[in-house]
């Protein structure tokens, strides 16, 4: 078949830049998450013909009636054979209004590990519940992890509404439960959407089965939620990644983690506290006057200090803390428990330093948010530690900056990532007293 594309009209449709929303999904086993994601991809016309054919073929082979949309997202052979999802998978789809990167996180095993990973880069999280079961323990855990990781926008998709005859009262009960749980965690932006992933109600297209619901469909909401607001309204943070050297040239390359930097700005190089000025903001395409997060640029400074990888360039009067020891919240991602006295490597922005777990202060019950005593933190547990590091780090609380407030805990010997770290205690700032 020869291409018969109307190039002019198709080109015009695309000839503009759209924003990018990174979001994550989480749900318990059998809530129908894979089906919901499959439905979102399918109904937003993001599944191409050959992929859909392959899924139809696989559905028939498994003896299913119709198309199992969940197969669109089941990636690896081991998963297909066992009917489970092993790991975070990333999906991509685009509508005329936005481009989406979806971190699809499984709910059954290692839920904390996977969800922490998926939520760390997400601006929005979609949680799923079964309309027949409502808000369950797992929902509260997922919600707490999303809150901990600083996700601003929460969506609860009440799935399988067809199995409760699209009952408004079933929806209302769940919505009230969820609002209470979300607000207790300090999450103010949350919506509850009644859907049927298998039939498509309120996923992309508004449903005639829920006349009592006047909120957005899931896709409407994903297209409308504000993105990238935090990054540029926060104080400027520029971790130096790499020193670019050329004849008569020395520049500091990095990606602006947050905030805005302009030429001629007075700046401070942390942790040393050196005062200088930005004389140029360079890119491959030439100098620019201003850089916004998350742009990658190269800065030239007025003074020839010994600035290098791991340094952080900020504005005066907005300096981060400089600390050799600090409280942190740990999400344990490895099967090896973390104990007081453990010697580790800490990767914070572009700096790697040696560190030691001074003490484990508590374990967080992620459902009740109660703190209990702890000797160690096991896989999928969240708790507080005091961390000491061999060289001072310029840090922010995670609650005020996601990138300068986060770090990895790495095994010094085999290089494995042991834990995700958040500077400070994000919940102590948010929990109502």
């Amino acid at each position: 078949m020869t291409s018969t594309v109307d190039f002019e009209s198709a080109g015009a449709r695309l000839d503009r830049d759209v924003e990018l929303l990174r979001f994550a999904t989480a749900g318990s086993v059998d809530d129908g998450k894979s089906t919901l994601v499959g439905r979102l991809l399918h109904d937003s016309k993001s599944v191409l013909a050959d992929t859909l054919e392959a899924v139809e073929r696989a559905s028939r082979d498994r003896g299913a009636e119709g198309v199992e949309l969940a197969l669109l997202t089941d990636g690896l052979r081991a998963e297909r054979e066992q009917g489970i999802t092993i790991d975070v998978a990333y999906r991509y789809f685009t509508t005329p209004r936005r481009k989406f990167i979806l971190a699809d996180t499984p709910g059954h095993v290692q839920y904390t590990r996977n969800m922490v990973t998926g939520a760390s880069t997400a601006e929005l999280v979609v949680l799923l519940v079964d309309a027949r079961k409502g808000v369950v323990e797992q929902t509260r855990r997922h919600l707490a992890v999303a809150a901990l990781l600083g996700v601003r926008h929460l969506v609860l998709a009440v799935n399988k509404m067809d199995l409760v005859e699209f009952s408004e009262s079933a929806y209302q009960t769940i919505a009230v439960d969820f609002a209470a749980a979300a607000e207790a965690l300090g999450i103010t932006d949350h919506v509850v959407i009644p859907v049927s992933a298998s039939l498509g109600d309120n996923v992309v297209d508004a449903s005639s089965n829920t006349p009592w619901y006047d909120g957005p469909t899931l896709l409407d909401h994903l297209e409308a939620v504000p993105v990238g607001v935090d990054a540029v309204t926060q104080a400027a943070r520029f971790p130096v990644q790499y020193v670019v050297r050329a004849p008569d040239y020395r520049g500091y390359a990095g990606q602006l983690a947050s905030g805005v930097i302009e030429r001629d700005d007075d700046v401070v190089v942390m942790p040393a506290g050196l005062r200088t000025r930005i004389v140029a903001i360079d890119t491959f395409d030439g100098e620019v006057d201003i850089a916004h997060a998350p742009q990658s640029v190269t800065l030239r400074l007025a003074d020839e200090f010994d600035v290098g990888r791991g340094d952080l360039i900020v504005h005066p009067r907005q300096e981060p803390r400089v600390a050799n020891a600090f409280d942190a919240t740990i999400c344990q991602l490895s099967e090896r428990p973390l104990r007081a006295g453990d010697r580790v490597l800490i990767k914070h922005t572009t700096r790697v330093v040696k560190g030691v777990i001074d003490s484990v202060s508590h374990r967080l019950d992620i459902e009740t948010l109660d703190r209990g005593p702890a000797e160690s933190l096991e896989l999928n547990e969240i708790g507080g530690v005091v961390l000491r590091v061999a060289a001072p780090l310029a840090i922010d609380d995670y609650a005020s900056d996601r990138l300068t407030g986060s770090f990895l805990v790495i095994d010094e010997h085999d290089g494995q990532t042991l834990a995700a770290g958040l500077v400070g205690d994000p919940f102590s700032a948010r929990r109502p007293q």
Binding site: D50, Q241, A253, A325, L403, I410, T417
Partner: protein, 315 residues
């Protein structure tokens, strides 16, 4: 609170209003960040350069990452011996113009010396793994940039941006490191290496839109041209010494282009009159067949074909 040494945090001043970040800018910035992280943390990185659009975009990001300094690592091409001559010419001209170093791992020389045997179907894509791994080991490369994208295929959708390979180049999906925020952990043992995919979050359309925005130069076969082709397994293949046509396969002249660039034996052309980048973008935006489904025979071998090859150390 135990002994804590810190200064008091300062309050923030009034800051400028927020600004929309176009998606290509966000993807470019992420890609540059990844490439700089590798250059800073690894001893001997190398960039896999096939001459395809993804590797061309990756090279463009690398040039942007280090300007005005040159790209601080070499390129490597695994040459199957059945590559399109237009692509080899493009590769050589680009390397010359940018003053880069190119390492070529040759499948043909492995076949000539008897270390690899030609497959019955004449396809050389699966034969690339051994020369690739040998070249990585011989050159002591510890980080290998690949142009793989997660939207290409289901196994890739689950691979990390920094993907640890053991000394046999194997990927173990169950032992991947969690990847959080923009913090990448590239620690590895001697003999192991890390595959790095700066375009993980790009789609085919993003790549083309970026090619257009940046004026990235590509091989001519990506755009429509008249070509002698014959049909095999539903794909339009280019005749040649690699093994076609045969057994009554009929050569026809068609107006075609390529959506991917690979080994001639398994890379099919699509009929298309898209002769400019804008045409190609318009065509992709309304197309109904994914890139790999349209053009790559090797992925049709089985549903789990890519997963198996990745485990064995393929790109």
């Amino acid at each position: 609170m135990s002994a804590i040494v810190e200064e008091q945090a300062q309050t923030t001043e009034t800051l400028p209003p927020s600004r929309k970040v176009p998606h290509l800018e966000a993807l470019e910035s992420e890609g540059i960040h990844i490439i700089r992280e590798v250059a800073a943390e690894f001893e001997r990185p190398v960039l896999l350069f096939s001459g395809g659009k993804d590797s061309a975009v990756m090279l463009h990001l690398a040039r942007k990452a280090f300007a005005p300094a040159p790209v601080p690592f070499p390129l490597m091409h695994v040459d199957t011996g059945h590559n399109f001559p237009e692509v080899i010419a493009y590769r050589d001209a680009l390397v010359e113009r940018l003053g880069l170093r190119l390492v070529v791992a040759s499948v043909q020389s492995y076949i000539d010396s008897g270390k690899l045997r030609e497959r019955a179907d004449g396809t050389r894509n699966p034969l690339q793994t051994v020369p690739l791994l040998d070249a990585i080991a011989d050159n002591k490369f510890d980080a290998v940039f690949g142009g793989g994208r997660r939207d290409e295929e289901k196994a890739r959708a689950k691979e990390r941006i920094f993907s640890l390979r053991d000394e046999f180049g194997q990927w173990d999906p169950r032992r991947q490191r969690p990847e959080l925020w923009n913090l990448y952990n590239g620690r590895h043992k001697p003999g192991e290496h890390v595959r790095v995919f700066p375009l993980s979050n790009w789609t085919e359309l993003d790549v083309w839109e970026y090619v257009e925005r940046e004026g990235v130069e590509l091989p001519s076969i990506y755009f429509s041209h008249a070509r002698e082709v014959f049909k095999r397994n539903g794909m339009w293949l280019t005749p040649g010494e690699w093994g076609g046509p045969k057994d009554g396969e009929i050569v026809e002249r068609k107006v075609v282009r390529y959506r991917t660039v690979g080994d001639m034996s398994c890379t099919g052309a699509v009929e298309s009159v898209a002769s400019s980048i804008g045409d190609v973008i318009a065509e992709i935006a309304v197309t109904t067949i994914t890139e790999r489904g349209a053009t790559r025979a090797d992925d049709k071998l089985s549903e789990a074909a890519m997963e198996d090859r990745k485990r064995e150390g393929y790109f």
